[in-house]
């Protein structure tokens, strides 16, 4: 249907014409679906996306269902670029299934976070079936702080250690890191405020700070 309309009246601009939840939208050539949605004031939830850093695609709350001809996919809207004629559904049952489960699991992972509780409640998730390991935890390991420190500040004061379920936000040998310049960018981009409490585990002795990324 869309294709027919477009063949009748070919767009003169170099914008990508597609639809989100039935609404016709236009995207600049390098925009992602999420950016297009935001430009059109359509809401897609996300915890790890931040305009200051490269999209990382870790929280998967921004997943949407895309349809093109016979191909139906569920993808992360923060990483996917639209193509002409694409149909995007932001609240299909498959999408909602992913979001609800992720939020229910997050309630167990970061039980102390007010932000996550509120977001989960918006999706009707108010309790969790999963085991709570640390009732004080707020960090969801979304990676915003690591990315902003590397990409924007230009130092790598903090990183992820270990992998999988053991993955932790930490500094080498878990001691404060003199590479940290104490700028607080990580705190400001944190979606849950988890870094507020642990900033001192990252920033080291002010007098010995060199501000150089390779300092040990």
């Amino acid at each position: 249907m869309n294709a027919k309309k477009e063949s009748k009246k070919p767009p003169k601009d170099n914008l990508v014409h597609f639809s989100i939840d039935g609404r016709r939208v236009q995207a600049q050539p390098d925009w992602t679906i999420l950016e297009t949605a935001r430009a059109h004031r359509l809401h897609i939830p996300t915890l790890c996306f931040h305009p200051a850093i490269h999209p990382w695609g870790s929280c998967r709350l921004c997943v949407v269902e895309t349809r093109l001809n016979d191909k139906v996919e569920v993808t992360a809207s923060c990483l996917t670029k639209p193509v002409a004629g694409l149909e995007v559904l932001t609240h299909s049952s498959r999408v909602m299934n992913v979001r609800r489960w992720v939020l229910e699991m997050l309630l167990a992972e970061c039980p102390a976070s007010r932000e996550i509780k509120e977001l989960a409640a918006q999706y009707g998730v108010t309790s969790t079936r999963f085991a709570i390991l640390d009732p004080e935890e707020e960090c969801l390991k979304c990676g915003r702080c690591v990315a902003v420190c590397h990409e924007v500040v230009g130092v790598q004061a903090l990183t992820f250690g270990s992998r999988g379920v053991a993955k932790k936000l930490e500094t080498p040998y878990r001691v404060p890191n003199n590479a940290c310049i104490g700028c607080g960018c990580c705190v400001s981009v944190c979606p849950t405020g988890a870094l507020q409490a642990r900033l001192d585990t990252v920033r080291g002795d002010l007098s010995r700070r060199t501000g150089h990324g390779f300092a040990h």
Partner: protein, 170 residues
Amino acid sequence: MALSLLLIYGEKSKMREILMKTRPQDLDSILENYPRRPQHLIGVLQDVQAAFNYISPEHLARICDHVGVPVTQAWSVATFYKSFSLEPRGEHSIKVCLGTTCHLKGGERLAEACERDLGIERGQTTADQRFSLDTVKCVGACAEAPVVMVDEDYLGRASISSLKKEFKRR
């Protein structure tokens, strides 16, 4: 070529000797083998792990200087991959295979028996630094399941009693 012949003749101690000689034993000569580029981080870490059985904080700092990466990146790499250890490992490594076939044929029981016998949990080293116990996901000898690797030897169709004997022998 000579090396492989020794393997076939089974002269393992000699082979190890040769390997030790060809494999640099101090950090400087390991670093010499690698150009100063970030992509060699994993290679250097592997050689250091092989030579010293673990990666000490001093070595990690010097490796970072050499290949030009921040310590944070080296930390995330060294903790991500399973073959690196940041603490000293035991003299002999015991790896109980928990591949699918070994699982079906009782590998989990073997691992538990080792834990009881050595008095440590998997991933740990005995107090006398003699043995380190680990589990691995398939060593590719499934036809002989359950398999335990002690150092570089494969023990096929392993049982609790054959393992105990093996520990005593070492």
